[in-house]
Amino acid sequence: MADGLRFDFIHFMHYVHLPENQKDFPSLWVDFPNRYFDPERGHALYQRYLSELVLADKLGFDAIVVNEHHNTAYSMMPAPNLIAAALIPQIKNAKICVWGTPPNLEYPNRLAEEYAMLDVLSQGRLEVAFPLGTGMEYWANPINPATARARYRESIDIILQAWTQEGPTSYYGDFYTYRYLNPWPRPFQKPHPPCYIVGTGSPETIDIAAQLGFGYASVFVTKQRARELNEKLRRGAAEHGHHLRPEQLPLQVITYVAETEEKAREEGIDHIRFFFEDALRTTPTFLAPPGYLSVDQLKMRAALADKLHGKFNFDAVNESFFVAVGTADQVVERLEEWGENMGTNHFVFLGAPGNMPNWKVVKNMNFLAHDVIPRMRARRAADRRVAAE
C-alpha cells in the first residue's frame, strides 16, 4: 500500500439455495419466507464464505469487507460484527472493514463498544462504515423510517463522542439520553477507526460525510451518478475544512477475470445476472418506506425504477455500472480509467457475485491477486519513475 493503491475484497454472503419457484416472489427481502433457509446448507455456506475471505488475506488483498442486511436471502450477515470476530484470528494482515451496521439498528453506545472490541482484538485493523440502512431494513426492524435520518445523525454523534472524549460523559438528545457514556473498551486506533458512509447518494447522507470528513462509498448508482457524488462530496468536505484523500472514496467494482474475454463472460455473467435479477429483487414499497426518502428522491428513483429493475441485460448493466468482466489486461484498463475519473485509488472487488461457485470465486481471486493487482502496482511505480525523471 506504499504506492497508495488499495484493493479490498467484499463478500455479501448470499443464501443461494433458493426454491425453484423463487421467481414467483416479487421480493427476496423483507417477506421472503424464512422457511427457505436450510441451516445445514447455511452452515456449509458460512464455512465456504469464511474460507474465501481468509484466502483473500492470504493472497494479499489489503482489506476484507462485510456488511449487514436483515430478512433476506441476499445476506447471511444480519450481524456482521460476528463475522468479523470469527475472521480476526484467521486474518493476519488485511484490514477488516465492517461497512457496516446501520447505527439505527443498535443502541449507539453498544455499537461503539462492539467496534472498539473488534479494533482492540485486531490490533487496530478495523474500519467501519455508518450506513443509514436500506429501506428494507426498516420493514424488518422496529425503527421509524420517518425519523430515521435524524436518529442516525444523533447516533453517529454519540458514537464519535464515546470514542473521542474520555468518559464518563453525558448526552441528552432527541432520541437517546446517556447519563454515563463511558464505554469499555476504547478503540485501539486513535482517535478512532477510519470511518466511511456507505449510501445510494441521498444528498442528506453526502452532507453528513462532508461535515464529518468521513469517506463515502456510493453503491447501486450509475457510473455517471457516482462520479457526480464524489465531486459533490469533495466540494462539500472542503467547505467544512476537510481534505478528502483518494483512498476515502472506495470504488466498488463487480469483477470477474479469466483467461479470455469470452471465457470470463461465459463463466461470470450468469452469476452477475443472479445478483441483479434475484438477490437484489425487491418491491418499490420495501425500497422506500414512508418518510425514508425525501419526496424529490422518491420521484427521482421512481422515474429510474423501470430502467434499474427491468429484465437483466448484461450489456446495459455493463454500460451503466462499475462492472469489469474480462482478461486481466482489460480489467486493469477499466480500473485505471475509473480510478482516474472517480478520483480514487481504492478499489473494492465484488468478486463473489450472486451464486458464483467456490471454484470460480477462487479462480477470480487468484487472477486479481496475481495479474490485476500487480500490474496496477507496476504501472503506478512506472508512473512515479517517469514523474521523478
Binding site: 420493514w139 421509524n144 420517518a146 422506500a288 418518510g291 422518491l298 421512481a302
Partner: protein, 261 residues
C-alpha cells in the same frame, strides 16, 4: 384531468398558527361544523356539499397532508389537538359540531376527550386507532400505492374521477409518499393508540358512530371496539359502502346531517 377535489362553494383559506401555515376549506353559513379528514384528502370533499346548505362547514387540512405545510416536529396526536386549539381560536370558533373520519376520527376522539366542553355533538366515521385482536387488515404503510384506492371503497368508480390517468404519475406518487411520512411519524410504531381507550369515557357528548359494511381497510368489526367504550353512542352501518362511506353513500351523509341538526 382529475375532478375538482374541493368544488364550489368551498373556498380555500390559509391561516398561520403557531408559525405553521395551514390550509382550510369552508362553505355555507350557520353554526360551525368541523370535518377532520382521513389519512388523505385527494378524493375531495364533494360528499360534504349537502352539509353546507345548513351549516358553516370547515374542513382544515391536517398539517403534512395534501397541500398543507408540514411541521416535522408534530409527531403525536397531542400535537394535532394543540394545533387545532390554536386554529379554532384563530377562527374564533368556540363550540361546534365535529365529524372525524378514519385518522380524522382518531384525532377527533382525542380532541373530544380533552376538550369535550367545546363540542355540541360528535360523529366518528370509520375511526382508526383502536387495537383489535387481529392485525388491521389493511395496513396503509405496507400496501403498494396502486392497491390503496381499491381498499378504500366498495366501488372503485367513486374514486376514478380523482385518480391520475397514469397510475405511476410521479406527482401523485410523490404527494402520497409525503403523506406517508407524516403518517409514519404518528403511526409507524403502533398503527393504533394504546392510550386512547383510557380516556374514551370522557366522550359524554351525543355521539354517532358510522361504518361502511364493506370496509376493507378497517372492517366493520372494529366498530365493536369503539362501542365497548362508547356504550351510549348511536351506531349506523351502510350496505354497499367501503371505508369511504361518506363518499359512497349519500344516505350516510344525510344520517350525519340529521344527527347534527
Amino acid at each position: 384531468m382529475p375532478a375538482e377535489a374541493f368544488p364550489a362553494p368551498f373556498k380555500r383559506d390559509t391561516h398561520t398558527v403557531n408559525g405553521l401555515k395551514t390550509t382550510l376549506f369552508s362553505a355555507g353559513e350557520g353554526e360551525p361544523l368541523v370535518f377532520f379528514h382521513g389519512a388523505g384528502i385527494w378524493h375531495g370533499v364533494k360528499f360534504a356539499l349537502p352539509w353546507t346548505e345548513k351549516f358553516r362547514v370547515i374542513i382544515p387540512i391536517h398539517p403534512g397532508l395534501d397541500g398543507a405545510d408540514d411541521d416535522p416536529a408534530m409527531n403525536d396526536f397531542h400535537d394535532y389537538v394543540m394545533h387545532y386549539l390554536d386554529l379554532f381560536d384563530a377562527l374564533g370558533i368556540d363550540r361546534f359540531r365535529l365529524v372525524g373520519f378514519s385518522l380524522g376520527g382518531l384525532i377527533a376522539a382525542h380532541f373530544a376527550a380533552g376538550h369535550g366542553d367545546r363540542l355540541e355533538r360528535l360523529v366518528l366515521v370509520g375511526p382508526a386507532g383502536l387495537r383489535g385482536k387481529e392485525r388491521p387488515k389493511g395496513d396503509l404503510f405496507s400496501l403498494p400505492p396502486e392497491l390503496i384506492p381499491s381498499m378504500l371503497v366498495s366501488n372503485l368508480d367513486t374514486l376514478k374521477p380523482y385518480l391520475p390517468e397514469n397510475p405511476k404519475d410521479l406527482d401523485f406518487l410523490g404527494a402520497r409518499y409525503r403523506e406517508g411520512g407524516t403518517l409514519a411519524r404518528l403511526l409507524w410504531e403502533h398503527p393504533y393508540d394504546t392510550k386512547l381507550p383510557r380516556y374514551l369515557h370522557r366522550l359524554t357528548m351525543p355521539t354517532l358512530l358510522v361504518w361502511g359494511e364493506d370496509d376493507k381497510l378497517l372492517p366493520v368489526q372494529n366498530a365493536q371496539l369503539w362501542r365497548q367504550h362508547l356504550p351510549k353512542a348511536e351506531f349506523q352501518t351502510f350496505k354497499g359502502a367501503g371505508h369511504l362511506v361518506l363518499d359512497e353513500k349519500r344516505e350516510a351523509v344525510d344520517a350525519v346531517q340529521r344527527f347534527l341538526s
